[in-house]
């Protein structure tokens, strides 16, 4: 199935007069797991929307920069072309089609995939292997599944298009720790099968365990980036995102805060 390399260069995006991302550059190498950390309103979802070309649904637009997959531009195309190019997104809050059956949700996931029927059948087998519960509940209404099962369905639905790059928006949101860890294992397994992964998370501990490379997004700009292990060890990330507090780290962090304005309690409903 193979992976694909994503390159985001100097991305500028916003919603009308509100700027959401400024000169954001992010790389997802072929076969890697890359994570983007950040608080509410940092621009994480905007970044994924810019890649999947769904900003217009929120009244937003990409006004600068470029997004390429294996060197071919993704920007300036419709959302369906992005899916056809091999990029699938698991939206924030799962967004399963609640009134449709589990089976039909998975069928919907395969709608944008180019390729023969056999490829879709293989994708369905793979999803059922990853999430046996989706085979058991095939005829049930998706809205009746538990939160964890809905997240599995959302991931499974995205995999139905046999993506080479999987975008995940807060997959652990609202899940019990055990279920979040399970979703984490699944992401590792999917990546092990060759799919590149771009993971947006608030659960930094989970994300840094999975990722090889990490970016920290704050108020629309990349403020930190590096190998995930290094970031996990850095004082600032430890204090801000991992909940570890010590004196020097606190000092470092307040200096960093002075350099970058941070809206710490910014509630974003988008």
């Amino acid at each position: 199935m193979g992976g694909a390399a994503l390159a985001v260069r100097d991305l500028v995006a916003g919603y009308g007069p509100v700027s959401a991302l400024r000169d954001v550059s992010i790389d997802v190498p072929d076969g890697a797991v890359v994570t983007v950390l950040g608080g509410n309103g940092a621009g994480k979802s905007t970044l994924l929307r810019a890649i999947s070309r769904t900003l217009s649904f929120h009244g937003g637009a990409m006004t600068g920069g470029s997004v390429t997959l294996d060197g071919r531009p993704l920007d300036g195309r419709g959302a369906d072309r992005v899916v056809a190019a091999g990029v699938s997104q698991v939206p924030e809050g799962r967004q399963v089609f609640a009134r449709m059956t589990v089976e039909d949700n998975l069928r919907a996931g395969a709608l944008g995939a180019r390729g023969p029927r056999t490829a879709k059948a293989a994708a369905l087998r793979r999803v059922h292997e990853l999430f046996p519960v989706l085979a058991e509940r095939a005829r049930q209404q998706a809205g009746l599944l538990s939160g964890g099962e809905q997240q599995m369905l959302a991931v499974g639905r995205a995999l139905m298009a046999s993506p080479r790059l999987l975008l995940l928006d807060e997959p652990s949101l609202g899940l019990a720790p055990l279920m979040a860890a399970r979703i984490g294992d699944t992401i590792r397994e999917i990546n092990g099968q060759g799919t590149s992964v771009l993971l947006v998370e608030q659960n930094a501990a989970l994300a840094l365990r999975l990722a090889t490379h990490a970016y920290v997004l704050e108020v629309g700009e990349v403020t930190l980036s590096g190998p995930a292990a290094e970031l996990a060890a850095s004082d600032e990330v430890r204090r801000r995102y991992l909940g570890v507090v010590d004196e020097t780290a606190a000092d470092d962090a307040s200096r960093a805060t002075a350099a970058h304005p941070v809206l710490s309690r910014w509630e974003d409903s988008r």
């Binding site: 899916v83 939206p91 967004q95 089609f97």
Partner: protein, 296 residues
């Protein structure tokens, strides 16, 4: 008792025709969340094409042409008008459809004039007698045709990729777009299907006992509005139940009019709206409609 059976049968047949119209109405609403006030003009367009062509090319080809014509008009309205306004408020779009309706109906009325056009159907005024119950062949044909079309539509809606895309887009346009569903195509398809169904309905609204296609045919089509609304605008089942309810109500109210003279004349035309109002008082979202939930 015989009268009642006859009225009921006629009502069910009429109701199935309303259901065809209401179904198209619901399909457009589900796919695009737009209330299509131009639906009656699609119906008139389909009927007009059939009526004009049947002398030259025969009834069945003319009917096919009518269906294709109405589907084309529907698709054209979507492509040339609605698409320009995508992303706008849905109430704005609903008002745009009123404008489209006025344009189309004005042009068709000009062409039809004061004429009553025959559609050249093969049933004429023949009647079928089963026991003591007598019913026009056209009503039987309407019931069978509407039944077949509705069944076919529901099967397609449930089992094909088009149906899955349609239902996905109806639940969440953005998520459907993330699946690679082309929303433009879904919406175009919805308008075309709605037009086609309306053209078939036009045929059965203009055959015996109605004299033929005339200017006021689009008014008859308006009765499908209460059908769609009382069933719940976003429910295909609702469209069917609503259509039958309106058809049976209208037929019974007209048939027993002489016993109900204290209510004044023309009760048959009024009854569907009365039923709609009563049902909406009890269930504001219609019989099968999804309750409006405020997202926070």
């Amino acid at each position: 008792m015989t009268t009642f059976a006859e009225l009921l049968l006629n009502g069910v047949s009429l109701g199935s025709v309303y259901a065809l119209i209401a179904l198209g109405f619901v399909v457009i609403f589900k796919a695009t969340e737009v209330v299509n006030f131009a639906h009656a003009s699609l119906l008139l367009a389909g009927g007009y094409v059939t009526a004009v062509l049947h002398d030259d090319i025969g009834f069945w080809p003319a009917l096919l042409a009518g269906v294709a014509g109405a589907a084309l008009v529907g698709a054209a309205v979507e492509f040339l008008v609605m698409r320009r306004y995508r992303g706008r408020d849905h109430s704005v779009l609903a008002i745009v459809t009123i404008g489209v309706d006025i344009l189309l109906v004005t042009e068709l009325t000009r062409r039809i004039g004061t004429n009553v056009l025959a559609v050249g159907d093969p049933w004429g005024d023949a009647v079928l007698t089963i026991g003591s119950v007598t019913i026009a062949e056209t009503r039987v044909a309407a019931l069978i045709a509407a039944g077949l079309l509705i069944t076919a539509f529901l099967l397609v809606f449930r089992h094909t990729s088009w149906g899955v895309a349609m239902r996905a887009a109806a639940e969440s346009a953005e998520t459907a777009a993330l699946m690679g569903v082309r929303l433009g195509r879904v919406s175009l398809g919805a308008w075309a299907v709605a037009g086609g169904l309306a053209a078939v309905a036009a045929l059965f609204l203009t055959v015996f006992p109605t004299p033929g296609l005339e200017r006021s045919t689009s008014l008859a089509a308006m009765k499908a509005f209460p059908a769609a609304i009382l069933g719940g605008l976003d429910s295909t089942t609702g469209a069917l139940v609503g259509g039958l309810t309106v058809g049976v109500t209208e037929s019974l109210a007209t048939g027993y009019q002489s016993d109900l003279t204290f209510l004044g004349r023309g009760l048959g035309d009024l009854a569907p709206y009365l039923v709609m109002i009563v049902i909406l008082l009890v269930r504001p979202a219609g019989l099968f409609g999804t309750k409006e939930l405020a997202r926070v």
